[in-house]
């Protein structure tokens, strides 16, 4: 029944042109794409119109607009809020570096084998349990108001921003340690076995074989934690540090107009969007979506 192809074209043809049928198909698909785009645009516009219409036609809208979305107040408060944001950015950058170092150290402690390391393992486990469980705001208060009250030379009497940063590092390193640990444990034991079989020590196997694969695998969830750290850096304002949120609060206190908070919120969103997009890009580039599954 099977027949040989009617003609075998010479190898490596470069003069290929789509057949009329294929051109029809491509035109059809283009049509579908345009239709999908138009449908998406229309449904978005309709939804936006409904939401905006519902909000702006509500009886209290004029007052809400005056209190939260006042353009003049926004312009007036912007310089102070933006200056405060610069502090948030610096806190975030310093904390991120400290969080990575501390988190990685904790993760490695937890994956150490052998009875000698039991106290270290236990310390790392207790640390992550404690600081993942404690609300960040409580850690902030304890450090920000508790440590200065101790009047300990060298530890107390630091600038308030140091306590705020330390609280962020303590809490986030517990989260990040768990992300790293998940990554380390996801590397198949055969990789460690192969490294050990080549004569690498346990530490060398970890450093040159396991960690590079683990870090690559957990980079997207790690960046997710840093997006979260970025906006939680606004919480240090409760200690009295003049960051973006605190600057907004000061401006609000003069006339009970909440627009500065909206300005600060807008700036925080603008700050996190690049990092969020970077996360998506890294995930896609690594083919991170769909690494699960595989052969049984």
């Amino acid at each position: 029944m099977a027949r040989a192809p009617q003609s075998i074209a010479p190898a490596g043809r470069t003069d290929w042109q789509p057949s009329p049928l294929q051109r029809q198909r491509l035109a059809y698909r283009r049509g579908r794409t345009i239709r999908s785009a138009v449908t998406a645009a229309l449904s978005t516009l309709v939804l936006l119109a409904v939401v905006i219409g519902a909000v702006t036609s509500s009886p209290g809208w004029p007052r809400v607009q005056e209190t939260f979305f006042n353009w003049d107040k926004a312009k007036e408060s912007f310089p102070a809020v933006a200056a405060g944001l610069w502090l948030n950015i610096r806190v975030m950058l310093v904390c991120a570096v400290a969080v990575v170092i501390l988190g990685l150290a904790l993760a490695i402690l937890r994956t150490l084998r052998g009875p000698v390391f039991f106290p270290l393992r236990m310390f790392a486990a207790a640390y992550t349990d404690l600081f993942r469980g404690l609300p960040l705001i409580l850690v902030l208060l304890l450090l920000g108001f508790g440590v200065p009250a101790l009047s300990l030379a060298g530890v107390s009497f630091q600038p308030v921003v140091v306590y705020g940063g330390a609280a962020l590092v303590l809490t986030y390193s517990a989260y990040v340690a768990e992300v790293f640990r998940a990554g380390i444990e996801s590397v198949h034991p055969s990789q460690r076995a192969a490294a050990r079989s080549l004569g690498l020590s346990n530490a060398q196997a970890l450093r040159y074989v396991v960690l590079p694969q683990a870090v690559r695998r957990v980079l997207p969830p790690l960046l997710n934690d840093f997006v979260s750290l970025q906006k939680d850096s606004g919480l240090i304002s409760i200690l009295g540090v003049v960051d973006a949120i605190r600057a907004a609060q000061i401006s609000t206190a003069t006339d009970f107009n909440y627009t500065p908070y909206i300005v600060a919120g807008f700036l925080f969103v603008c700050l996190t969007i690049p990092l969020t997009r970077l996360t998506d890009w890294v995930a896609r580039r690594q083919g991170w979506y769909g690494v699960g599954g595989g052969a049984v």
């Binding site: 029944m1 099977a2 027949r3 040989a4 075998i8 049928l21 198909r25 579908r32």
Partner: protein, 265 residues
């Protein structure tokens, strides 16, 4: 969305006597600048068993994936029982319920039992009542000789057993065409036999099959036609006794010589 129940009507429009069940004409597929299938034309008649041979990367798997609509073709036509399935308006789910595919790596769902693996598509895609789907799945497991493994998880089975489950899963929707993509390549040598003898029985029951394989002995036994793919083109097509014993094309001869050298023929 629930579609009509599988079973009645799924085996589809009857093929006119003498017409091919599967007709591939001038198929072209490339991935970026890499041309994987170049002007491939091939007919498979009802009940016929066509075996694709060729080196890794010659396009065997891609050809099978195109027929199951897992790849969008660049050009050319694939007709199943007279219907152009490469038409962008064709419903891929309808096509796939008529074409079963079995993969090299089994691709069973590890979190589901053997029975749940088989009933997933009938219940969720075709709206078959669970009791009926399970009855059909059990019959299918009986057919592949694994009725005692219905409640096992895939990782409790040997590779050969897993592949037989995968075949049962593909058969449960009563396909008119089975695509088999190097189904024994991931198996230990002593487990290859059980899978191949199952395929031999399927052929004897009249199943139409398109098989990509490196098992030349098996190809010789079951194939009605052997196709040698080379660099994405059908270099030679013929009955197994001719193509495997006295290949006309030098490229086919080279390929078979390397296989014999490797002790695989």
């Amino acid at each position: 969305m629930r579609r009509r129940a599988a079973g009645a009507g799924v085996t589809g429009s009857p093929v006119a006597p003498g017409a091919p069940l599967l007709s591939i004409r001038n198929l072209r597929k490339s991935f970026g600048s890499n041309l994987v299938l170049d002007d491939v034309s091939l007919d498979v008649g009802p009940g016929e068993c066509v075996v694709l041979i060729g080196a890794s990367g010659s396009g065997k798997s891609t050809l099978l994936r195109c027929v199951n609509l897992l790849e969008v073709v660049d050009d050319g036509v694939i007709e199943l029982a007279g219907t152009d399935i490469t038409d962008p308006r064709a419903d891929a789910d309808t096509v796939r319920s008529r074409v079963g595919i079995v993969f090299q790596a089994f691709n069973l769902f590890p979190h589901l039992s053997v029975l749940a693996n088989i009933t997933l598509s009938p219940v969720k895609v075709h709206g078959v009542p669970r009791a009926e789907a399970e009855a059909r799945a059990l019959a299918m497991l009986e057919r592949v000789g694994l009725s005692d493994k219905a409640n096992a998880k895939p990782d409790e089975l040997s590779g050969g057993q897993q592949q037989r489950v995968a075949i049962a899963r593909a058969l449960v929707n009563s396909p008119v065409l089975m695509l088999l993509d190097e189904v024994t390549s991931a198996l230990d040598p002593e487990l290859v036999g059980e899978v191949l003898s199952l395929l031999r029985e399927l052929k004897d029951e009249g199943m139409t099959m398109l098989i990509a394989t490196h098992e030349m002995g098996f190809a010789r036994q079951v194939a009605d036609t052997v196709c040698f793919l080379d660099g994405g083109r059908l270099a030679e097509v013929g009955p197994p006794e001719q193509l495997l014993a006295e290949p006309r094309e030098p490229r086919t001869r080279q390929f078979l010589a390397r296989i014999i050298e490797a002790g695989r023929l």
